[in-house]
């Protein structure tokens, strides 16, 4: 072995010694970062919240209102409040299954997971289902966003979970663990939407984002804004999240 090879070998071993704990720490850290960010993004496992949605496209804005009920990490019920023509419509997400109840149909109907809501937003966005338990996380990099250091996590959907997007890049503030933004991607890795978390304020004793803005990356000028208000912590009966009770009021 010549001198150059020896040096390379030593350098490799040193790098390995340095990187093994760092890689191990990163692996744990990614899930911890995600946990901490989601504790801030989500008001909890059992709560209800009203959602005002405004969808702006070609300078025209469409306003809608929903009420969402969340139980645990994989059950959510979205009630349509406004406009009047859609009032009474319900969407239930339970595990990987999704059902819709339209008052005119008089019974719940199973729908496929990629049935969208309106504009850029999907049912999963309105229900604000937790990423924890639905996505696996790993570190991608550390970046500066608006002067803040942020972890960039790469989230990959776990099969059979109630998720809207296959992959997500998730920016989380290094110091505060506040969610900063997320880029939503298809299975192939094509970025389709970018979401930013804004208007942080105290909700259930924690500073949480109260506005979520989704930009369509494939169509300039198409922006959907979700405003979360009147959150209430409450445990709801399991029967409320059963398909046959979807039409109940």
């Amino acid at each position: 072995m010549n001198r150059r090879s020896k040096l390379l070998g030593i350098a490799f071993m040193m790098g390995l010694c340095i990187n093994i704990p760092a890689m191990a720490a990163e692996k744990v850290e990614a899930s911890v970062v995600l946990e901490k960010a989601e504790v801030i993004r989500n008001p909890g496992d059992n709560y209800s919240v009203e959602v005002d949605l405004s969808d702006t496209k070609d300078s025209k804005t469409d306003l809608r209102r929903y009420e969402t009920f969340v139980k645990g990490r994989d059950k959510a019920l979205v009630k349509f409040v406004e406009p009047a023509s859609e009032s009474g419509t319900r969407v239930l997400m339970t595990g990987p299954d999704m059902y819709v109840f339209v008052p005119t149909s008089a019974k719940p109907v199973r729908i496929s997971a990629n049935q969208k809501l309106t504009g850029n937003a999907a049912y999963g966005d309105v229900a604000r289902l937790s990423f924890v338990g639905n996505y696996s996380a790993k570190h991608k990099s550390v970046e500066k966003v608006d002067g803040r250091d942020t972890y960039v996590l790469e989230l990959t959907s776990i099969p059979e979970r109630p998720v809207t997007y296959d992959k997500i890049e998730y920016w989380v503030d290094v110091k505060t663990f506040k969610p900063v933004k997320a880029v939503y991607m298809t299975q192939s890795g094509k970025a389709i939407r970018e979401g930013t978390f804004e208007n942080f304020g105290e909700v259930f004793g924690v500073q949480r984002p109260r506005i979520f803005v989704l930009k369509n990356l494939l169509r300039a000028g198409h922006v959907t804004r979700l405003k979360f208000k009147n959150p209430k912590q409450k445990s709801f009966p399991d029967l409320m999240f059963e398909k046959q009770n979807l039409g109940r009021n």
Binding site: A84, K107, N114
Partner: protein
Amino acid sequence: MPVPQTRFLTAIGILFAGILLPSAIGFDGAWAKVDLRGRASQTARYFLEDQRLRHQITEVSLRQVADIGEGMTSVIEGRFLYDSALFPTPSIQFRHYSKEVRNDEGFEAEARQIYVDWLSEKWAIKVGRIQFDWMDSLSPRTSDAVTALDLRHGGFDNPSQIIEPVEAISANTSVGFGSAEFMIVPRGRHHRLPKGENGYGYVERVNGLLGGVQQALVASGVRRVINPALISGQIPVDTTHAEYGGRYLMSASGIDFSAFAWRGHQRTPSLELTFDEAEGSSFDTEIWDLKATEKYPQMSSYGVFASLGGEASVFRLFSLYEPGRTPSVLLQDELAKYLSPALGNSPGFLGDRVYRSGSIEDRLRGGLGFDYVFSKHLKIYSEGYVTVSQVTGRTPAGDSVEEALRDHTATMRLTNESFDDLFISCDTTITGPKRSWLISPDVTFEWRDKQPSANTWKLSVGGWLVQSESEQSALQILRGARQVYMRLGAWF
């Protein structure tokens, strides 16, 4: 007092009583959250054959939902219908509407739902007048035993518009890996059919049957005055005719599974044809009544459903078993004796399978459905099922018969949402073996002020085209329903 007025006052009374219910009960939380919604629409339907207006329906619906306590909600929903085409002007005689149709369809006010809903940790209970549909399929028509439908206009409309409400108690609780639901309906309802010829074929079919029998009697040498009549039947209201059932629902590994058993009545009438001497008949002038009496025999129904959802698709399977049904047309022995020379041993008569009284039909139906979302530009919803009926009984000639009949139905719905305010759909249904098909396109344009609480307006234009190769087709109630419609609706 005329029946429509009585019905109207009853409905108004129920609605007002219901609206005052939260305060009357005295819940502290009454009126804490009350939501009142309404819809008004004007629908014009033209039959293509006649080239003139046949129905012009004004509809107003109101729905009030009030939180009246912890987990407890009251729901009151009323509907007012008025068909101005049936208004008794001199021109009405040119539209061929009988008085029965005008009484039945001219004006109607009805409490469509009025119930109290209680949801607790262990139980979900509904008490009152409700609409329900346990069939996990595209169309509520798949079963002819559980849910009664309003088929006066051929059954064309949203399910909530055509499902007949029933007074019921429903209880749902978690059991094992799923949940069980039980329901009792003290007073069952049957399908609502037009009381006179209104362009949709039921009365035309019955009249054709009676007229055909009358001709066959004459051809058989019966020389009497024959009075044909359709006698409307009802489901008896007593404890032995109360309807009840239960179902179990569960989800495992992304598959939904449900099974139900229901003790109820046939919703489509079985016509019992009788031929008896009429009152006032004399030796000189024999007058006989030829009656088609609508009957709704008791029966049991068992259903099993499964569905699986994917990223872009939903797959459904179902099976329905209905033993002990009564065939759609039965002949009284006396009448059969007169008719058998004309009919021979064939049970077919004017498009109907005809058997003697006492014959039984066991029906097994199996189907599958597949929905696929390509994009907002194209979504497909489809379903198909095969029905096998085993009839055991006697032919009109009196011979024993045991025969299996089979028919099938396939339906597909295509939708397009390429444009923000425009919804385009087209339904196609094909039945067999005596083929008939139905195509129903619809284009709906929606507009509203882009404010959350603004009213919404929708204008729908569409049509229905029914083509039957045989009078024996499954769509015979829609016979001749080739029409276009236009509906303007407002939600507030």
